[in-house]
Every structure is written in C-alpha cells, then in structure tokens.
Symmetry: C2
Subunit: 81 residues, 2 copies
C-alpha cells in the first residue's frame, strides 16, 4: 500500500485502490470531506484540474500523506505497467 505517482491518473488510481482497501465507498469519503461524490469520482478518474485542497482532503480522509521523493535515483515500481 505504497504508491508512487507522477500523473493525475496514477494519483487517482492510488486513491481509489486505497479507498477500496479500506472497504469504503465514494459516499463515505464524501461524508468525511464534505466533497460531492461527483468530485471524488472526478479525482479518482485522473482529472488534473482538481484542486490541491480537494486532493489533500481525500488523502486526509484516507489516512494518507504525501511524500515527495527524488525521481530517477531509485527504481519506480509503476514503470513496469
């Protein structure tokens, strides 16, 4: 449960996977963030126009945090896919 991402699509996917791993619905996240289900959906589907505040709210709701890591230095797991 440790995702590295460079694109909005990857972030969306990571958030969706984490949410499902928690056994939660978008509606659950909505309740915890006061964001509309539609907004969560948009984010999970990789909309890069999403505001940082929205991403942060969802991340917080999922009990996650961002870590900014150096790229190129080490192997990136998602480069396989």
């Amino acid at each position: 449960m440790d995702f590295t991402a460079r694109t909005a699509e990857q972030i969306g996917e990571a958030l969706r996977r984490t949410r499902k791993a928690r056994g939660w619905t978008q509606s659950d996240i909505s309740a915890r963030t006061n964001l509309r289900v539609a907004t969560i959906s948009s984010l999970e589907n990789g909309d890069a126009g999403t505001k940082l505040a929205t991403v942060l709210a969802v991340i917080a709701a999922l009990g996650l945090a961002f870590r900014l890591v150096e790229r190129g230095g080490s192997f990136e797991i998602e480069d396989i896919f």
Copy 2:
C-alpha cells in the same frame, strides 16, 4: 531531501526547498513548465487552490514524484515542528 506533507503549506515549502537545493529560481521552473512565475510563487506559498496539474508540473520539473504513504503507522518527522 525527502519531505512528507499533509498540507498545501508543507508541499509549498518542500517544493521551495528542493528548488533552492537545485540552485534554481522560480523563473527556471517557469521556463521548464510554461507556468508563470506568479503561479509558482503562489504554490510555494501554500495556496491550496492550486490545480493538481500545476503541482505535478512543478514536481516533474524538479525531478520529484509523489509517494502516497500510510499515515499514523510510523513516525512523522514534521510533527516535531
């Protein structure tokens, strides 16, 4: 050079520190991203309204990537400050 962040302020600070560590100016980032210097400034100053696309562009320009990490499990360094 490994920042964990939960807020826009922390992300902005991390990006600013990384940029300075690279010896770059906001203008350098601007050239690499086609974003205005003012936009970079706003992001580094912690504006949560910034679009995800903007954050991703700056991160890419700095050679960084996001890592979504589980919170609460382990110790968070920035909780000290």
